[in-house]
């Protein structure tokens, strides 16, 4: 059984996702050990711009130049700065076809693995594992399950998920692809909010449909909660490959921050500019031992 960790990255004019993916790959490699390869799925343009770095951090690179329709997203860098830029996140539904592995762990390029819990996914009996429970490192969001809408279905976070080559996973990704191509229809059907195409939404809808459109439980990853740092937070310091100190936006006054340390604990750092500011430290800590 081959096992691979897959990270997607496509640069835009605002963010160098390839660099972030390299840092993220480095952290995965330093903290997990039971996989065969770390693989990047990217487009030709991104690969050309960062080929040397990519080859340093990844064992395998898959190029997919599928057309990405315009998907403009608001990027926040704490409360200081806001920017709109294209968000190229539409190839995720192709991962089933593109993955050369029997078992695949997909992680976002801003998800930093800092302990070995995700090594427990390998050889699971479950065809797909994904989390709906999450925690906000700043404690702003009290509920730990988010819904697509108050009258809709629970949201599953496509930030990290596991699948093995199986009928269930194949059907799931077929549905995700179908939803992606008919997003407007499903968007209204499930009372979605915002204009952005979100993989989280597409995954949640597909899981709902695949489970017979009734209440359902999808096996969660071995981690209990996805540990989210939203884009109002910032990085204070990178200590090591398993140790980061964050500025967490104060729940009552988001422009103020509280320091908190994350040691041996994964963090999904959504403030891309913060990652960019600390990219050298992140890359050094993720270098191959």
């Amino acid at each position: 059984m081959s096992r691979g960790i897959i990270i997607f990255a496509q640069n835009n004019e605002y963010i160098n996702y390839a660099e972030q993916a390299c840092a993220c790959a480095g952290y995965a490699r330093r903290n997990l050990s039971l996989f065969d390869e770390v693989c990047l799925i990217t487009n030709s343009e991104t690969l050309q711009s960062e080929e040397k770095l990519i080859n340093e951090y990844f064992d395998n690179v898959i190029v997919s130049d599928n057309f990405q329709p315009e998907n403009i997203r608001l990027f926040k860098d704490t409360t200081d700065k806001l920017d709109y830029a294209p968000f190229k996140n539409m190839s995720r539904s192709e991962v089933y076809k593109l993955s050369p592995y029997d078992e695949t762990l997909v992680i976002d390029s801003d998800y930093f693995i800092m302990n070995d819990i995700l090594d427990q996914v390998w050889n699971s009996d479950n065809d797909v594992m994904i989390n709906s429970k999450y925690r906000d490192i700043s404690g702003r969001h009290k509920e730990n399950i988010e819904y697509i809408d108050n009258f809709s279905i629970p949201m599953y976070w496509a930030t990290v998920f596991y699948f093995k080559k199986s009928d269930f996973a194949e059907n799931l990704f077929t549905l995700i692809s179908h939803i992606k191509h008919n997003y407007k229809y499903y968007y209204y059907l499930y009372n979605c909010s915002g204009n952005l195409y979100r993989n989280d939404f597409a995954f949640s809808m597909a899981l709902h449909i695949l489970n017979g459109s009734v209440a359902f439980d999808v096996p969660s990853l071995p981690i209990e909660y996805l540990n989210n740092s939203f884009d109002l937070d910032d990085i204070f310091r990178i200590n090591a490959y398993n140790d980061v100190i964050m500025y967490c936006a104060d729940a009552e006054q988001v422009s103020s921050h509280i320091l908190s340390r994350f040691k041996d604990m994964d963090v999904h750092i959504m403030n891309k500019k913060a990652i960019e500011r600390f990219i050298d430290d992140l890359l050094v800590n993720g270098e191959k031992a």
Partner: protein, 130 residues
């Protein structure tokens, strides 16, 4: 007479202000303490996971107690529901009990040490080793 009582009132409210400042300062410390404590708690919850035979288990006191009962009843293999309510067959109950209890002690002990560190200092710089 009326003037004197006014002065006393002003004097008192200055003290109140100082006390209030102190309380608000303390509230900031508590805010930091609580956030860091919650993050330690979440870390502990995430680390208390054990996977075997294709299933994942949340390791807690009730799993350990149940397994202790299973082992002391002489059962060497059993089927258990994992955290996703999937039945998983455990072939060696004694080893499973050993694994989950070791993990529990190790993770909770780390939590205790980090919590003591957090509790013992009001200075966040010291706790976070900044």
């Amino acid at each position: 007479m009326a003037d004197t009582s006014k002065e006393t009132e002003i004097e008192a409210s200055k003290e109140d202000l100082q006390r209030l400042e102190k309380a608000l300062d303390f509230s900031n410390t508590m805010k930091t303490f609580n956030l860091n404590k919650n993050n330690l708690k979440v870390k502990t919850q995430n680390l208390l996971s054990h996977s075997t035979a294709g299933g994942s288990f949340t390791v807690d006191q009730s799993l350990i107690s149940f397994m202790n009962f299973v082992v002391s009843s002489g059962k060497t293999e059993i089927t258990l529901l994992d955290k996703n309510d999937i039945p998983v067959h455990i072939e060696d109950t004694e080893k499973f009990l050993d694994d989950v209890s070791s993990l529990y002690f190790e993770v909770v002990n780390d939590y205790y040490n980090e919590y003591q560190k957090l509790k013992s200092s009001r200075k966040i710089e010291k706790v976070l080793e900044i």
